[in-house]
Amino acid sequence: MSRRPESGFSGLGLADMALAVCDHLLKNGIQVVLSGGACVSIYTANKYLSYDLDLVLLSSEKQKETKAVVTALGFIEEGRYFRHPDSPFFLDFLPPPLSVGEEPVKKIAEIRKGGRVLKLLSPTDCVKDRLAAYYHWNDRQALEQAILVFRDQHVELAEVRRWSIAEGMARKFSIFKGLLPQKKR
């Protein structure tokens, strides 16, 4: 019986898996930005663990190429997701534009490790992204995730407030703000 070659994905945690996939895509000319719950996992050292890697494509021209590149890595397409037999995480490629609510993301964060690059939402945009789910779906889990990110990272609260008001969500921002822990300076 023939054995499947070692993928290198076995045992990788979420951040390393995201780093490996994003870096590989980048080397093939495909720019993606990690969004959604996976950013919460990374920014909170897995206090909240996501298995879903939401990767926003920066160019809609690259959708077909993306499928070929990840399939060559051993990922298998299942509906709109891609799974790898050596990993519990799955990939979901989302179309551009990269946005939080009604606004485009202006500044993309990067994590560099061992010569690899992972592009992802900044902590401030990650909080906005989670709050968008709370604001529009009333999702309390997303609200708690936003609080976790605020607690563990530097988040520009004034910017989150400005964005919330622009989204028409000043009242819900007050609820979020009231739940935030005091940070030591």
Partner: protein, 109 residues
């Protein structure tokens, strides 16, 4: 009316239906607009993939609606709202003017 913009008249009418009804499910949309179910499902799946629509399960039914997190939602809603008066009045009354307020159980129609 919508063909030049969305590539097909059906796509625009499906969006208009969802804009007017808030949420709906594929067989309701297909029945109301007189389209094949498969055709409606393909249209909905395409818009969902593009982030224009959301879907959620309610019991055994998958409901679709305009995604409030779609960055051009306000502009899309404005366009659909502007399109409504251009629909034939009888059709607008029948398909795109639903009663959304509640009706108490047992109340005669």
């Amino acid at each position: 009316m919508f063909k030049a913009l969305f590539g097909s008249e059906r796509k625009g009418r499906v969006l208009l239906f969802l804009h007017a009804h808030g949420e709906s499910y594929p067989s309701e949309i297909a029945r109301a607009l007189g389209y094949y179910l498969n055709s409606v499902q393909t249209i909905l799946a395409g818009f969902e993939r593009g982030g224009v629509l959301y879907s959620r399960l309610r019991g055994k039914v998958r409901l679709f609606g305009l995604n409030p997190r779609y960055p051009f939602r306000r502009e899309l809603e404005a366009l659909l709202e502007k399109a409504l008066p251009f629909v034939d009045p009888a059709e607008r009354e029948k398909l795109f003017t639903p009663r959304l307020r509640p009706r108490r159980t047992g109340k005669p129609l």
